[in-house]
Amino acid sequence: MYMPIAGVDIFWPGLVLIGFSVGVIGGFFGMGGAWMVTPGLNILGFPMAFAIGTDMAHIAGKSMISTMRHAKFGNVDYKLGLFMVFGTFLGIECGAQLVMYLERLGRIDTVVRYVYVLFLALIAFMVFYDYAKAVKKKKAGVAEGERGTEGITWYKTFHKLNIPPMVHFKNAGFTCSAWLPAGVSFLTGVFAGFLGIGGGLFRMPALVYLIGCPTHIAVGTDLFEVMISGLYGAFTFSLKGRIELVAVFVMLTGAAIGAQIGTVATKYAKGYGIRIAFGIAVICCMISIILKQFGFSNSSAVMILSTIGLMCVYITAIMFKGAAAELREKKAAKQAGHPLS
């Protein structure tokens, strides 16, 4: 298929496949997935400058589809999302300014990659430490609140901050100072702007560990935010002429199907199941960046593509297994004369 703006012929089923895979993974983890799409587009033959802009627009459309589905489950806290959007934009601008400053000093790529790796390592550590702590607590018979046993509960300390205005977030189910989501989103925005990514990779764990969202709500709310920031990104990249609209449409078609699978799969997964799979994805992303930094670009691409493939299979299996069990249960209830609604 000919891409008139990028001026290249692209294997279009490859675009559908990328869209589908990122739809599945993004819908399940609540992130845009730029770290997966950009190298994928590059491998298909897009120049890097176009890969980033095209990816940004695709992420906006894909997140819209996922947000619509998550909203039906009640997984989106729009109020929290809107509170965070402003902090995110401000943070992204500050991060971008920091990058421009470092660009004048030189070696920006190296700095960005090392910072990226450092933060991914911290996120992965946090996820697995949290899980280990939760397992230990569960074994000791400690159960906390409605959500069951939790490992890291830093958000409880942050919720005690009594700086007005205090805001209640209905879907997320907590009340906290408005400065908490604003501050956290600003910080994650700075990282996103500095690293040139959407920020879902940082925001999702931040929503869980620092703000105190249940995992499912964090996934849905983050996607809502990714949708808004993606549209903004699509606009700015379009102004710079770095977007291939034809590819966006083709990818979105695949993403529409993938997003349903990823989003519905969250219904059948426990919060910690999502967190652990997320942690593994973060580690794979980190390894791929390290490989790229040391000149192993092909190995890095293989690493990313393998991660995408395996994650897709895992999430799709959760969805179909869960859906089959639900349908069996409904059928059995119907036969017994007590149909489930």
């Binding site: 000919y2 008139p4 703006i5 001026g7 627009a57 695709h58 906006a60 459309g61 819209m64 589809i65 619509m68 589905r69 039906k72 489950f73 009640g74 997984n75 660009e103 000093l105 030189g106 070696r107 790529d109 190296t110 090392y114 450092l118 911290l122 939760a134 569960k138 959500r147 069951g148 046993t149 939790e150 249940p214 995992t215 499912h216 709500i217 549209l231 699509a234 606009f235 700015t236 379009s238 102004l239 002429g241 977007i243 609209l245 034809v246 966006v248 449409f249 979105l252 078609t253 529409a256 997003a259 349903q260 969250t266 426990k270 919060g271 910690y272 639900e326 409904k330 489930l340 609604s341």
Partner: protein, 98 residues
């Protein structure tokens, strides 16, 4: 917790020590890239988009956002319609963390 923070500080300090060239300057300047869409091989809507890209960046940016949002919305509603026929309960879920 204090022990954990200590370990974290050592980890960050270790990375700083291992990578001294982080503070060295001397990168290359970024190059500006001017791209013109090739309108010779496309017709209809694609030709309009390519022409707009070449002549009016603002209009192109507005179209890019509007069309992306519209296409996302259409696909979302379409998939919602299809999924609602699957027999699954797509309006409720239990939040279980562990």
């Amino acid at each position: 917790m204090r022990n954990l923070i200590k370990k974290g500080i050592w980890f960050v300090a270790g990375i700083g020590l291992c990578l001294p060239h982080l503070v060295w300057a001397g990168g290359e300047a970024a190059t500006n890239l001017v791209v013109v869409a090739d309108t010779r091989r496309v017709t209809g809507v694609l030709k309009y988009i390519a022409d707009t890209y070449n002549t009016d960046p603002w209009l192109f940016a507005v179209w890019a956002v509007v069309i992306t949002a519209a296409w996302g919305g259409i696909l979302g509603f379409l998939m919602d319609f299809i999924m609602s026929r699957s027999g699954l309960d797509l309006r409720s879920r239990k939040i279980v963390e562990h």
